[in-house]
Structures are given as structure tokens and as C-alpha cells.
Symmetry: C3
Subunit: 299 residues, 3 copies
């Protein structure tokens, strides 16, 4: 699979796999190893994590499995996140869901992710959500130290608006490498809030979470989603590919180099996403979907 | 008439004429030539076009007429636009209205405009609408080539938000010279979305389409428009000028150097706009209209 | 009290006193002098004014009192504002509330403030509101001249959005030192409109007007305010401080170095604010208030 350069030193596969739900799949270590190997065979070499996934358990599960196969483990790249403090039996000190982007928490969380994942370094560390109580100077201090210590190679953000992105970037001597945001045929807000524009201005690839709109289209109930589903079916018929391939191709064909995060634990569905790279969607087909999702013609 | 410098190399008249509806006026070639000559006599030397105007026919009509008088044709400057693909009998390959800002379409469209207008070069080429599927690198590649080949002198955009403008500008080594947006006593959104601010920051003159609010004030039906019309009448009485002159003066007196695009095919109405340059509207009169249009006092 | 550096040359106290309502307090000159001395004893050395406060009378009242004690007057710093033209018996030429940020009005207003305040210079002059009819070049011309003449040390704005701030800043060779905006437990809009982000990006301290939400929380009637009040009471109980101290501490503990403007004429209430600097609010307490004010959990 083709690679995307996030920086001079880091390239990742054009499609990333998301481990968000790993602990829900009933995988034993051998299953996880097998699944990762199958992803690698498909060309996916990057796996998306967050400290909080699986009630703070996904990183540990993944690390425990992968550490059993150094050969495999050396081939993969890891994205993980920090900054959310969830209500969880595993974090009894949290009495309200909140964010913590202090120097000390970022340092602790990155080091804890390394420990859970049983790795020497993370490829990309993201701030999971913009924190209204954030101090960009503190975040930058943590990022700089983690970088110098070789614990994290590159840094990014998730769900940041342009002003939030610019504020943090102003404190860093190296460029943030991505903004992981929700983008799908049903989630167009990143075009409205300036995020896609800023990514293109900077030549930075966004990552797309929920690239299949969380299944909302498959189970369309509202008028908007039913219309959108019908148009996707029509494009699917015209292209001779499945409707989820249409949804992936809609992202993959966009000039902003959007990196979809595929979250399925079924390798067949991952394969579907990988093959969507070959779909040649026309500009008019892309706009058919855009217009159906907007609910109105372009002006 | 005074001129506005869009760049070091290009000055245009303070008021531009818009040919949007040329094919609706029943003009023969002689009428078009006569009308353009009358505009020039009034000091208007710049004519605004788009590939799509008049169902893709305005440029051709205009070019056919103007090519018959080289002396006149050499005196005028042309703004035109590309990037919209409309449903039209003249473009049967379009099955949905969409945008196309690909390198190849911009190149083809600019060259087709030259052919239709029977000119060697365009003075300004604008991207007509922000395209959610745009690749600013591709647009810049087309702009650079058109500039190097001498086919287009300057470039701009239309209906762009600040983030969209900045993304495209980042790919160009020369400044975009204008953003053509809707501005009128009834259309204040460019103050809210940051466009006027960005124009002032860059020292770039915006062009205003629909400077008379598409006639909405003349035929006021809603409470807001009736109130606004009454205030405009009051200012009109106080200044001793017509209500459309008040509306033009409201734009012309603004410090952002707004260039109104006058769209009438009646030379008397064009003259009215030209004379509005001399109206001395006070700051309080300007705010009377602002407040009436907003529907509330300034905070 | 600790000081905040607004520029290399100007430091002001971490808390500013706002003289907005001075003329409503029934103060004689001796009372004003006494009040200012008590503020200085608490460490507050900066007093916030505007030309329009007290129907254009506050500056004069304050100046008349302070000029009677040169020793005291030399110790204090003055922030004032210009640009609003209110309806007032003291300005009969205004027939509609409007803004005036012309060169001539800024010059006249700054000089009039000096005369009213009986001072040789102002420490900070702010444009009171973003003016839709503003010419940033003209504002910059006035600022430059006032600075060169030694009449005003530093300049800033009030209630500006980021795009408005950037447009003005682009015309100045020195940095604007603050944006005075509404920030409180009940006024979170500056997080949404990018102002807090821009302040942090620039390392510029915002000033907060209405830091107690204009008393709305004390007299809570709406569901949102009742919920917010209950949470503030809970945090107040946990910290063992008053509810207005919780509201001040919520601002003072934020990493953006927010400078609250305390507007009370009762020195005991000012003291309350000053002591709020010592409150150690935890991150979870800060988020309890954020969440209650938003009406929903963080995502």
C-alpha cells in the first residue's frame, strides 16, 4: 500500500487501523497477533490507540499480544492519545469526566502508554480533545521533552479547531503532523469550521475517525440519511462496489489526503476498505454524495 | 473616474460593470458596443464576466461585439470566473451542478473564455465558488501556468471564506487580488465571517456583487426590509439623492475600498451608480442603515 | 500583589479595578481618593475607564479627585477606551449610538481623556468595540502618533474577534497588549470564538469584564443558572471560600493569565477578589463549573 509522509522521518500507510474496540472483540493474544499480521499483509502498518480506549485497557491488551512477536512488533507504527480523564473503575480518582493537558499528565500518560504497549517509543502522540483549560506552553514543554528523550517521534492533535491548532503550533519548533477529526459522508463539519482548509494550507494529512459514519447510513432512519443512503446505493451500483467502499472512496479520493481509520475487527471488512483505494470516483459522483448529505444543491 | 490598484501592474475603475444578464437585454452587437462605450465615457473600464453567465453564452456575445471595435476593446479590462459546472443544454455532460477546480478544467476554461471573448489575455480570473473538493496545489499550478503564458494577468476568488482564501494563497508566490462577495445594505455577512477584516488586513479590495440587494429593498415585504427601506428613504431625503445612490454610497464610502459591480443594462442606472461616488454620507447615516439592517442597536 | 507584564515597558497588577460605575457610588473626592488608596494597599495599581462611563463623566470625576494627591496619582496606572459615541445629553450631536474610530476622533478622545483625568499620559488605550466602519490604517496612524507624542504608552482593543484583531495588528509595528472581553463562569463565548486561543498564541493577557457575570448567578432564575449556582456552591463549600471567590478563582487559575476587572465600589468586595488569588482550585473543580455552565459533559 502507498504510504503518506507525516514528516520527513515518518511515513505511515494510507489507511490506518483503529484499535478503539479491541477489547470488545473477544480476541486472545494469538487472535490479536493474527489480526495485526493480516493487516500488515494488506499493507496497513499503523495502529491507532488512545489511553482511554476500552476503559483504559486496549493499549495493555495490544501490548501484551504484540510483545510476543518482536518481528511483527518492529514492523508496526503506533498512534496514541492522551488528555482525557474519563470516569472509570480503573481511574477511581476521577469524579467528573475532564481533560488534563498539564505537563505532568502528558509525561505520565505517554510513559504509561509505552509501558502498556511494551514499546520503547510511540510514533505519534495526539492530544485527544481541545482542553479549555490548556496551557499550550505546558503541552509544548512535554512534547519537546518526550521528543528529546526519543519516547515519541511526532505529535499531533485530535478534534482541534484551527484557532486551537495555531495556538499550540506557535509554541513548537517542529510541525504538528496531523489533526484526527470526524470526517465521513455524514460528517461535513470539518469543511465548515476551516479544518480541511488549514490542513491543505499546511500540507498536513488529517486522519478521519468514524469514516463510515458509525453505521448511521447502514441503518438510515432520518430523511437526510435515507436520501444519502439512496444516493450512495446509486453510486455503488454505478461503480460496481459496495456501499462502504463508496464511503471510503469518498474520503480517499479527496485531495486533502485524508487517512481513514478503519475500526473493524473483521479482516474482511478491513480488506474492503483497503480495496476502496482503487475505486475511481468521478467528481460528479463525489458531488452527488456531498449534495445529498448537505440536503441542498451547491450554490 | 478614480482607479483602484488591484496589483502593481493592474488598475481598474472604482466601479465595475457586471455583464451577468447581458443576454437578457436583447442587445445586438451594435447595442453592446454602444453600451460599453457609454460605460467608458462614464469612467468604467472593467467588465465582470463568468464562463457560466447567460447559460454559458455571455462571454461569446460580448466577445463577438467587442471584437468589432479594436480601439474600444483595447481600452477595457476583463474579469471572468471559472469553476462552476452548471446544468445546461450547452453542457450536456453535467448531470448535477458541481464545481471543478482541477488543473485541467481551469486551463480549459480560461482558454475557452479567451476564445469566447476573442482576447489575448484576461485581466483577472476568479475561482467562482469555494470548492469542497479543491486541491489548492492544482489551482496554483494552473494559475502559475496561465500567468507565465501571459494568458491571465491577475487572479482572485469569489465567495471564499478567510480559511479558504488563506489555503489557496499559501500555494501562490503572488497575491490574490480580490475576493468577489455579496455585500449590500441587506447583506452584512461578510462583516461576520471575517472577510472584510481579512481584506483590510491584506489591503485588498473586495468586489461586491448584488450591491443593490437584488432589488429586495425596492420591493420590501418583510418587516426588516420595510424598516431598512424607510431608513434609506430618510437618508436619501437628507442627502438629496436617490435611494439606489444611498445604497451605492453606503458601499463606496466604506474604508475597505469596496468595488461595486453594477449589473444594469440601462446606462442611466449605471450613471446613477457612478454619481454615487460623490455622495458624502456621514458616519451616523452609515450607522443608521447598519442598525436598521441588523435590526438592533450597536452594543 | 504579583504583576502581569503587558509589554516590556508596562506591568500592571494581576487584578484591575473598573471605575465603570464610579458616578453611581455617591463618592466625594475624598471618598474616591480613599478608595483608590485602599485599592493600592491591596496591590491593585491599575484602574479601568472609558470615555463613555457614567454618561461621559467618570473620567472627569476620577481625575478631579486624583489630581488632589500627586503622590497617589503617580502610583496608579490608567486604562481607558474610545470609539463609542453614545446618545447622551453630554453629546447632543449624536442622534444614533454609533462608533467612531477615525484618526481625528481617536486623537480628540485620547486628548480629552487626558484632560478629564488630569494626566500627562495614559498607560493603555483601547478601541472599545469593533467598528464595522473602521479603517485599521487610520487607527494605526492615531496610535502611532499618540505613542510618539508620549500621550499613550500601550494600545489594545475590547470585544474584538480574532479576525478583527489581526486586521488592526497588521497595521502596527508594536503589539497590541490586550483584548478586554466578557469572560465569566456564565460567559464562555471567548473559548468558542477563538479569542482565548489567539491570546494564548500571542502570549497576551486578556482582561475580563463582568467577571461575576453581572450578578446573574447570585440571582439565578433560569435552569442553567440555578444548576451553575448549585455547582459553584458545592465548590465553594469544598474550598471553604465564598461563591464570588470561586468565580474569581475560576478565572485567575486559568493558564491564559486572565485579568479580572473588579467593578465594586465596596472595598470589602474588592478584597474578596484579591484574596481569590490564593484559592487553589483543582482541575476537576474547574471542569465541574465548565460542565455546569455548558449544560453538558465534555465530549
Amino acid at each position: 500500500m502507498e504510504q503518506v509522509a507525516l514528516s520527513d522521518d515518518l511515513k505511515i500507510s494510507r489507511i490506518v487501523h483503529g484499535m478503539w474496540r479491541l477489547t470488545e472483540w473477544g480476541f486472545k493474544d494469538a487472535d490479536t497477533l493474527n489480526f495485526v499480521e493480516q493487516c500488515l499483509d494488506l499493507g496497513i502498518d499503523t495502529f491507532d490507540h488512545a489511553d482511554i480506549y476500552g476503559d483504559y485497557m486496549v493499549e495493555e491488551h495490544f501490548g501484551k499480544a504484540l510483545s510476543q512477536n518482536k518481528f511483527l512488533n518492529d514492523k508496526i507504527k503506533i498512534v496514541t492519545k492522551c488528555g482525557i480523564k474519563m470516569l472509570s473503575g480503573n481511574r477511581p480518582e476521577h469524579y467528573i469526566k475532564h481533560y488534563d493537558t498539564s505537563y505532568s499528565h502528558i509525561m505520565w500518560s505517554a510513559e504509561n502508554s509505552l509501558k502498556m504497549l511494551k514499546r520503547d517509543s510511540l510514533d505519534v502522540l495526539l492530544i485527544h480533545r481541545p482542553d479549555p483549560y490548556n496551557d499550550p506552553y505546558e503541552i509544548a514543554r512535554a512534547f519537546n521533552q518526550l521528543r528529546e528523550e526519543g519516547k515519541v517521534k511526532e505529535f499531533g492533535v485530535s478534534n482541534y479547531l484551527p484557532g486551537q491548532f495555531n495556538a499550540l503550533q506557535a509554541y513548537l519548533d517542529f510541525p504538528l503532523v496531523t489533526n484526527q477529526v470526524e470526517i465521513s459522508v455524514a460528517a461535513l463539519q470539518e469543511w465548515d469550521n476551516g479544518t480541511i482548509d488549514l490542513c491543505q494550507e499546511l500540507g498536513m494529512s488529517p486522519m478521519a475517525w468514524s469514516p463510515l459514519a458509525g453505521g448511521a447510513i447502514f441503518n438510515a432512519q432520518t430523511h437526510r440519511y435515507i436520501t444519502l443512503k439512496n444516493v450512495i446505493h446509486q453510486v455503488s451500483d454505478n461503480l460496481g462496489v459496495s456501499i462502504d467502499q463508496v464511503m471510503y472512496a469518498w474520503l480517499l479520493s479527496h485531495p486533502a489526503n485524508i487517512i481513514p481509520i478503519v475500526g473493524s475487527g473483521k479482516i474482511e471488512r478491513v480488506k474492503t476498505a483497503v480495496e476502496a483505494r482503487k475505486v475511481e470516483m468521478t467528481r460528479q459522483q463525489w458531488f452527488q454524495i456531498w449534495v445529498a448529505s448537505r440536503g441542498q444543491n451547491v450554490p
